[in-house]
């Protein structure tokens, strides 16, 4: 079959090898091409910014924010709008030209840093600069592993930026690392070292976002979230951006419109600051991949603040709104810079004319087990471990997805020994968070810390347990890692865990297609990374 594109950044990539006709995500080849070019020009901009820093010159926050937003736009299921991506390429080239004129010495900069083209040349240039432009499969594998990790890190930085928090070191690293992915003098060993360094900054990026979220909205606390519906019209907010949610809650107050969370926005309910809104109704639906069916039944407007967007059916296209890094052709986009208040009035007016949502579930789910909440329960947890009531914890954080092979995680959770507790974050939880797995002495068997970035909380909890039990090595804890991945935020979470010294992480439902056999071998030999097997075999492996 003729190759029209090449993308293998997500877990669902066609045949476990690469999407070449159309993205399994729904991305068409013309959009994939502009994403390839956006990455290329962003790397070019990063080379110039990195050069300026080396010359002792200051690089403005607006450049950092442009880089992180560009990377975010190319994350799986974020943006399908070719025209919007073209505009970002133009803006990036404009900014780069200005920075280039400020350099004292531009010699030695790569082609990406020097290339300028107008829109008529974009497709031809895109065809030259995609993933396959790197011939050596190990170098390509590491470059992509690093780039995808940086995309995840950029997404977390962007959320912190929206709350007016920045970490210049993280931004400078993102740009330095992007520049290095174009450096042909770097060896496999150099790039392996850069991969691990990316994990270090992944920890810093997640710490920044944790600080931004908790300073703005308080520390998550144990919360039962209603999964049914009320009688008012509603707005469904999806994605990860808590600042967008805050603005929406403020603007819908007193309008008679309720606000429901979807998928990765569920953990917003755990934050004290959002509990003051009586119209913050609950969580509707499940993980991202079920949205076509569920958005149909919601009846009201849906606001996508980040990935994961599935290209909508025509029946609800006029009710799907995008903001931030997201975009879908034919859907309305709400703009707004950091620090500005976005105007959601048109969306709210639409909601008032819509019927209330149709119930698809009833009951509630419990979460809010982020680091401070779990630390508050530390004595109880320690007693349960010491008495043997809790034998082991298993981290099952990560992403959910469409593949039937992910039913493994439901079965695995259901068949876990009754003295094992699941620690989770991200939308992977939807595979088992409605199973009613019970509790151990009042400690629920599924402890949900929050969104995927709240895997940081799980790392802090693990470090705290290590301290409490007086252990020298995090790997000596009664703790297993069985992580599900789908998109690039999971890549930065994985690299962060590796940086923290966690070994023997099991990653599924399949290992990334972008890992070449040699790179996979490095991860297996140095970190004990493995895939998943059958539920029975893995239960035996983890719990004897």
């Amino acid at each position: 079959m003729e190759r029209k594109m090449f993308c293998y950044q997500c877990q669902e990539t066609a045949g476990g090898k690469g999407c070449t006709v159309c993205g399994v995500c729904g991305k068409k080849p013309d959009v994939a091409a502009m994403q390839d070019l956006l990455i290329y020009v962003t790397k070019g901009l990063s080379c110039v910014a990195d050069r300026l820093r080396r010359e002792g010159q200051r690089v403005g926050k607006e450049v950092n924010h442009l880089v992180t937003m560009n990377l975010f736009v190319t994350i799986t299921n974020a943006n399908f709008d070719r025209q919007a991506i073209i505009e970002r390429i133009r803006e990036t080239l404009d900014v780069k030209r200005k920075l280039l004129s400020q350099t004292e010495n531009a010699s030695g900069l790569p082609h990406a840093a020097l290339w300028n083209g107008d829109v008529g040349e974009f497709d031809a240039q895109a065809a030259e600069v995609g993933v396959l432009a790197t011939g050596n499969e190990d170098i390509r594998s590491l470059r992509e592993l690093i780039t995808y990790g940086l995309k995840g890190l950029a997404a977390y930085s962007k959320h912190a930026n929206a709350l007016l928090q920045d970490n210049e070191d993280v931004d400078a690293f993102i740009q330095r690392a992007l520049a290095k992915t174009l450096d042909d003098s770097l060896t496999v060993n150099d790039l392996v070292a850069l991969t691990l360094e990316t994990g270090k900054y992944g920890v810093d990026g997640m710490a920044l976002l944790d600080k931004a979220n908790t300073e703005a909205y308080g520390h998550p606390e144990i919360t039962a979230v209603d999964i049914g519906v009320r009688k008012n019209p509603g707005i469904l907010i999806s994605g990860h951006d808590l600042r967008d949610l805050e603005m929406l809650l403020e603007q819908t107050a007193g309008t008679g419109v309720d606000v429901y969370t979807h998928s990765e926005m569920l953990p917003a309910h755990y934050y004290p600051a959002f509990k003051k809104y009586p119209h913050f109704a609950g969580n509707y639906g499940n993980a991202w991949w079920k949205q076509k069916e569920e958005f149909e039944k919601f009846h009201g407007p849906v606001l996508m603040t980040t990935n994961c967007v599935v290209p909508p059916a025509d029946s609800y296209r006029d009710r799907l709104w995008t903001t931030g890094a997201t975009g879908v052709p034919g859907c309305r986009h709400i703009g707004g810079a950091y620090g500005e208040t976005k105007d959601f009035s048109a969306l709210i007016e639409q909601a008032k004319k819509c019927p209330p949502p149709e119930a698809i579930e009833t009951g509630s789910i419990v979460g809010g087990f982020a680091h401070e909440q779990v630390f508050a329960l530390a004595d109880k947890v320690m007693d349960a471990v010491k008495s043997g009531a809790i034998r082991k914890f298993v981290v099952m954080a990560g992403c959910d997805g469409r593949m039937k092979s992910r039913e493994y995680y439901t079965e695995f959770a259901r068949k876990l020994p009754k003295d094992v507790v699941i620690l989770t974050a991200g939308c992977a939880k939807y595979k088992y968070n409605k199973l009613d797995l019970g509790d151990i002495g009042g400690i629920p068997r599924v402890l949900d810390a929050g969104q995927c970035n709240d895997s940081y909380s799980l790392a802090l909890i693990a470090l705290k347990l290590k301290e409490i039990f007086g252990l020298n090595d995090i790997n000596d804890l009664p703790l297993a890692f069985n992580i599900a991945w789908y998109e690039q935020k999971a890549v930065i979470v994985l690299l962060a865990l590796l940086y923290l010294g966690v070994k023997n992480i099991h990653l599924g439902p399949t290992l990334p297609a972008f890992l070449s056999p040699n790179v996979a071998d490095v991860l297996v030999k140095n970190f004990g990374i493995a895939g998943i097997g059958t539920v029975g075999d893995d239960l035996k492996l983890f719990f004897g």
Binding site: V24, R402, M403
Partner: protein, 61 residues
Amino acid sequence: MKYVVNESCIGCGLCATTCPEVFSMTDAGVAAAIAEEVAEENRDSAAEARENCPVGAIEEV
């Protein structure tokens, strides 16, 4: 055993890669299944294509 590809198809090409004897891409950019019975020797790969379709667009009829 026969298959049809319904309107959920997003044209990713996975089925045509997995089992080209049964599935192919049309000029409209979506997948289609052959109208005939699936031959014995292709049943496993056709079933695999159906199983792995990311949007569940392949139905057995």
